[in-house]
């Protein structure tokens, strides 16, 4: 048993963080947000690196990597708060990989994997604004363990997070039906949770750095327990978050019996923790944290938007309870021989 990234997975993480640190600075995020346009240069770069197709099998033009690798990329894009249609596109591609017929895969995946078509994933019964749907060319609309794939444009929605183009599905009954696949939904929950984890981790890292140097009353503010204990608690909550997200990524990837429960736990926890930690980072920064230039607000706003997306904390706790009821004896086994 090895519950940590493999060397290859760590290398992907390092590479992604390095690229995004250089090419998705907060200056770039801010100007994308202020102009309400994606960072097209970054999107071109992500396409050239094959990120939209990370989870797409090679025969359809992707890199054929698993949900763990996809989560790593999603987390890093959250960490950078990058402004591109990548999240929606990998969500759409991932759900198609498991729910589309091979004919549909053939038709849709190569263009998604290449980033020629931008994607998004929505739920039928939910009018929460859908990230990246505002300019998506393809929308997967999930319903129960089935769903449809639609090329009908969504209704754009301006939200508090102008760094992504949100939208709402106009006609959920439009499009072609997909196969039944519970994994489609579970996978999307994992990817979104990973992205939320990245947002929160960045907010915590920024707070650690800032409070270590910012002085008040002649000492760094991090020497006050009111500050340091709040950050320590955020770290504890993100330790839980990381365990839940990467366990879910692994469990869904290998088809473990705990997969759906684990995905529900991850989304339920991150829906709250991501917002709490990014919000608490604003407080930790004091007055500066409330300014436009502090950049924390981009993290906080996106964490807020993604909280209810694909179901919020309460919905996933409720789903989890149903699963625990039916699989009570096996749900907490750590060995799966």
């Amino acid at each position: 048993m090895r519950f940590m990234l493999s060397d290859e997975q760590s290398a992907i993480q390092d590479m992604a963080r390095e690229v995004l640190a250089a090419e998705s600075t907060f200056d770039r995020v801010r100007s994308a947000g202020e102009e309400r346009q994606y960072d097209s240069e970054l999107w071109a770069l992500q396409r050239s690196m094959g990120w939209p197709g990370v989870g797409v099998p090679q025969r359809w033009g992707g890199q054929g990597l698993g949900l763990v690798e996809l989560s790593v990329i999603a987390e890093e894009c959250g960490y950078a708060c990058s402004s591109t249609p990548l999240l929606g596109t990998i969500l759409a591609a991932t759900s198609l990989v498991s729910a589309a017929s091979s004919e549909q895969c053939e038709r849709y995946l190569p263009s998604l994997a290449a980033g020629e078509v931008r994607g998004a994933v929505a739920l039928t019964a939910d009018s929460t604004p859908v990230p990246d749907a505002g300019e998506a060319g393809l929308i997967v609309v999930l319903e129960g363990s089935g769903g449809r794939v639609s090329l009908q444009p969504a209704q754009p929605v301006e939200t508090i997070d102008p760094t992504l183009r949100y939208g709402r599905v106009v006609d959920p009954s439009a499009g072609e039906p997909l196969n039944q696949s519970p994994i489609a939904y579970d996978s999307t929950l994992v990817v979104v949770s990973a992205h939320q984890l990245g947002l929160a981790q960045r907010a915590l890292d920024l707070s650690v750095a800032y409070t270590s140097v910012r002085e008040q009353f002649g000492v760094p503010v991090a020497t006050f327990q009111a500050v340091s204990h709040r950050l320590a608690q955020a770290h504890v909550d993100l330790t839980a978050a990381r365990s839940l997200v990467y366990h879910a990524a692994w469990a869904v990837q290998v088809g473990d019996s705990e997969a759906s429960a684990s995905a529900a736990r991850a989304k339920a926890w991150l829906a709250e923790a991501s917002r709490t930690v990014t919000g608490s980072a604003i407080h930790a920064h004091g007055g500066i944290g409330f300014t436009w230039e502090a950049n924390l607000h981009w993290l906080f706003k996106r964490a807020t938007m993604l909280g209810p997306y694909l179901g919020g904390a309460r919905q996933h706790r409720s789903r989890l309870l149903d699963m625990l009821g039916t699989a009570q004896t096996t749900s907490h086994e750590t060995d799966h021989s």
Partner: protein, 378 residues
């Protein structure tokens, strides 16, 4: 223990209720700047009725009102849906500070125009390097004959874009203990060398400003309460700020809660037991704040002085406000997160509540230190 209004309070309430009915300013303009001037005009109108500064002595145009009567005033404003008048830094902070520390000439010059809204005031206390720590003020005022020459920077000065005068705390002596080298000035905002820059907040708006001082000259006659005595004068200002806080907080919270409740009821959302339970908890917290504000007014009147308990109300307010804003955005529906929604604005704005006007951390220090009497950290 008697929470009924006294005969005087009742009489005032009925008078003022009738007056508002005749003078109500109507609906607010949507533009931020127009709304500010509309609230300033409302101050003038209140002044013509004799209501601009209830708590000021009658010799300066007030009514010598008790804090309780002032609370009745605010309650009636809220009940009528009338705005809180602009220029509250003048009426609640600059005015009382000048009354306590100012010279006769300063009182004559500055007080009356405040109520006529001829003078708008802002407060220059916070600095980028100081934040919650007033003793760390670095903006320096160097004496040159009958003048002081000021260089430095202030932040978080609300309404500086409209202000004619600024309550300015500076350092005039670097050789003594930090809080002893401060001097408090009235700064004429039309003096050469002042740059005002709006500070954009995460809501996208600019309530606050940065002020930059480049060799700004202030006559020595504009010192308030002696050179080197700035710390004590500033404490007076802050105490008056806190004394006005209770009633205002209660009103803001109650009005917001009422909006949330109406929405929830109109959409049947209170049928959800979790929503119902959370909402009611917030109602209790709001009522507790309103009642605690009244109780503190009673106690301050009995004691004859305002204490540090304003910190407690501020803590209650920011905590409940943040909870309510989060609750609303989670509950009212998927439109809440849209850019133009009032729910989104309150939610984003509420993030400042634990920071502005004394961070919650500083306020808990004050409660621990001055209310509970715990030993201090350093």
């Amino acid at each position: 223990m008697d929470l009924t209004l006294s005969a005087d309070e009742l009489a005032f309430r009925d008078d003022f209720r009738a007056w508002i009915a005749d003078h109500h300013p109507g609906s607010p303009p949507s533009n931020v700047e127009e709304r500010y001037y509309w609230r300033l005009e409302w101050l003038r109108e209140l002044n013509r009725g004799g209501f601009a500064a209830m708590h000021w002595p009658s010799e300066y145009g007030g009514r010598g009102a008790t804090a309780m009567l002032n609370a009745v005033f605010f309650t009636e404003l809220a009940r009528a849906g009338a705005p809180i008048p602009a220029n509250h830094i003048a009426t609640f902070m600059a005015g009382p500070t000048i009354m306590q520390w100012g010279t006769q000439e300063q009182k004559e010059r500055y007080l009356a125009p405040m109520l006529r809204a001829d003078n708008v005031w802002c407060q220059g206390f916070s600095e980028p390097g100081a934040g919650s720590d007033l003793a760390a003020v670095a903006t320096f005022a160097a004496r040159e004959g009958d003048e002081f020459v000021v260089n430095g920077q202030k932040v978080w000065t609300s309404e500086a874009q409209y202000a004619h005068f600024c309550l300015l705390v500076t350092r005039t002596d670097r050789s003594v203990a930090q809080h002893k080298g401060l001097t408090y000035f009235i700064l004429d905002m039309s003096s050469p060398g002042i740059t005002r820059r709006p500070l954009r907040q995460l809501t996208g708006e600019s309530e606050f400003n940065e002020l930059f001082f480049d060799n700004v000259r202030i006559p020595a006659s504009s010192v308030i309460g002696e050179v080197g005595n700035g710390w004590r004068v500033a404490m007076t200002t802050l105490m008056h700020e806190r004394s006005m806080i209770g009633a205002g907080y209660g009103i803001r919270l109650r009005n917001y809660l009422t909006v949330v409740e109406s929405h929830l009821r109109a959409h049947g959302l209170l049928d959800d037991p979790i929503v119902a339970d959370r909402f009611t908890d917030l109602e209790i917290r709001t009522r507790a704040l309103e009642l605690s504000a009244l109780r503190q007014i009673s106690e301050a009147q009995a004691r004859g002085s305002v204490g540090s308990e304003g910190s407690i109300l501020k803590l209650m307010w920011s905590d409940t406000y943040s909870r309510l804003a989060e609750f609303a955005i989670e509950t009212v529906g998927p439109d809440a997160l849209e850019d133009a929604s009032g729910w989104a604005w309150e939610y984003l704005r509420s993030r400042a509540s634990t920071i502005e006007g004394g961070t919650s951390d500083i306020l808990r220090n004050i409660v621990a230190d001055r209310v509970l009497g715990l030993p201090r950290a350093r």
